[in-house]
């Protein structure tokens, strides 16, 4: 069965994750301003309600906050928070799948570890 739900993520999620990436890679530093929903909407040609929904995900997660009358800013400590979240996801997305596939192929944990070490040494 071929299934790739990640490819077709709803637009608001893509917006939220795109902003998260930009924060993680330092495009938007902590305590700096991020683009407004208006800018996002016009730039990416998306309905403003969709852009707002994406940004609100970040607000709810405490990644960005609103300064009344000024705009949206990256919260202090956002990078650390995001890294932790992505690490949890890393386990879900990569490690558990890796183990699942390894079991099918009868690859032992020792073998996997040596493979990972090989990957790191490259």
């Amino acid at each position: 069965m071929k299934l790739n739900f990640d490819d077709e993520k709803p637009v608001f999620l893509q917006i939220a994750e795109g902003m998260e990436d930009a924060i993680l890679t330092g495009v938007f530093q902590e305590e700096s301003q991020i683009p407004s929903t208006t800018e996002l909407s016009v730039t990416y040609k998306i309905n403003p309600a969709t852009a707002l929904k994406g940004i609100n995900l970040l607000v709810d997660a405490g990644i960005v906050y609103k300064k009344r009358g000024v705009g949206m800013f990256v919260t202090e400590g956002a990078v650390r928070k995001l890294r932790q979240k992505r690490k949890d996801q890393f386990y879900e997305n990569f490690v558990s799948r890796l183990v699942e596939e390894a079991k099918k192929l009868e690859i032992t944990d020792v073998e996997i570890i040596s493979m990972i070490e090989r990957g790191f040494s490259k």
């Binding site: 069965m1 790739n4 077709e8 208006t38 909407s41 016009v42 990416y44 969709t50």
Partner: protein
């Protein structure tokens, strides 16, 4: 109540029913797409709302008031359609001035600015414009009339990709500045999918779907595999279309749950349905 309410509207031409007891609401301040194949009744619906033709039955209410032959109500809406309603010998700039007569909020300065951005020569006569520039001329009018209800019937016909992008961006900018109701009738669904909030799909004069864009996109799957298998798994689903190829069957379902398909067996191939395919299936069934 703010918004447009279409109640039990029917309209027939000779032996065809263009609209068959259609009821739908366009809420205040939302962007809608009106989808359907040629002859599905899209233009008929827009023409009835804007009083260009009259329904055989039913009525249209704008902000709770009947739209029919009501000039005050009509000043609150604008329909951009294939027809050019201006004398062909008229110059663009004159046409702008003319529009201001009927639409008091027409913004001349803005219209001239848009014309400049699109490279529309306002000294030219309407007649001499190419197909693409006729569309641009009509779009500039539509963007400048400043009415609470804007209907766009195939707005980007004949426009190149660059101008289409420009148009959608300007439309969004305007909408964000002061939200108004926009209904876009189009067959270029993928292009408007991200812009619209709500989808209304017409088929043979009837509404076959009326829901949030996200809802439509979220629950649409294409399931293929052995016929028996597909039949078992698509039981109880809203199947909007099927295809057979030998013993292979493909079913298109909407309003479905992701969790169910995660559990589907290896022999079934499951994929998300994009808006374009979904639309084709929906209007073919």
């Amino acid at each position: 109540m703010r918004g447009i309410e279409i109640k039990e509207v029917s309209k027939g031409y000779k032996d065809t029913k263009a609209l068959d007891h259609v009821s739908v609401q366009f809420e205040d301040g939302k962007i809608y797409a009106l989808l359907g194949r040629n002859g599905a009744g899209k233009s008929t619906m827009l023409n009835i709302i804007s009083n260009r033709i009259f329904p055989d039955q039913g009525e249209v209410l704008v902000d709770g008031k009947p739209a029919r032959e009501n000039d005050q109500v009509q000043q609150n809406m604008y329909l951009m359609s294939e027809q050019t309603l201006y004398p062909a010998g008229m110059k663009i700039q004159q046409a702008f001035q003319w529009s201001k007569e009927f639409y008091p909020k027409f913004d001349m300065e803005y219209a001239m600015e848009l014309a400049r951005m699109f490279g529309l020569n306002t000294k030219k006569k309407v007649r001499t414009l190419s197909t693409g520039y006729k569309s641009i001329f009509k779009l500039v009018l539509a963007l400048s009339v400043n009415v609470p209800y804007l209907f766009l019937d195939e707005p980007v016909l004949g426009l190149d990709a660059n101008h289409r992008e420009m148009f959608y961006r300007i439309l969004l900018e305007k909408y964000i500045e002061e939200p108004f109701t926009i209904v876009i009738s189009t067959h270029l669904i993928e292009e408007v999918a991200s812009v619209i909030e709500h989808v209304v799909i017409l088929k043979d004069g009837k509404i076959v779907k009326n829901c949030a864009t996200e809802e439509l996109l979220a629950g649409g799957y294409r399931i293929s595999g052995k016929k028996e298998m597909v039949d078992i798994w698509s039981q109880g689903e809203d199947v909007i279309g099927t295809e057979m190829l030998g013993t292979m069957k493909t079913a298109y379902v909407i309003g479905s749950s992701k969790e169910k398909w995660k559990k589907a067996p290896e022999e079934l191939e499951v994929a998300k349905l994009d808006l374009q395919k979904m639309f084709i299936q929906m209007t073919n069934r």
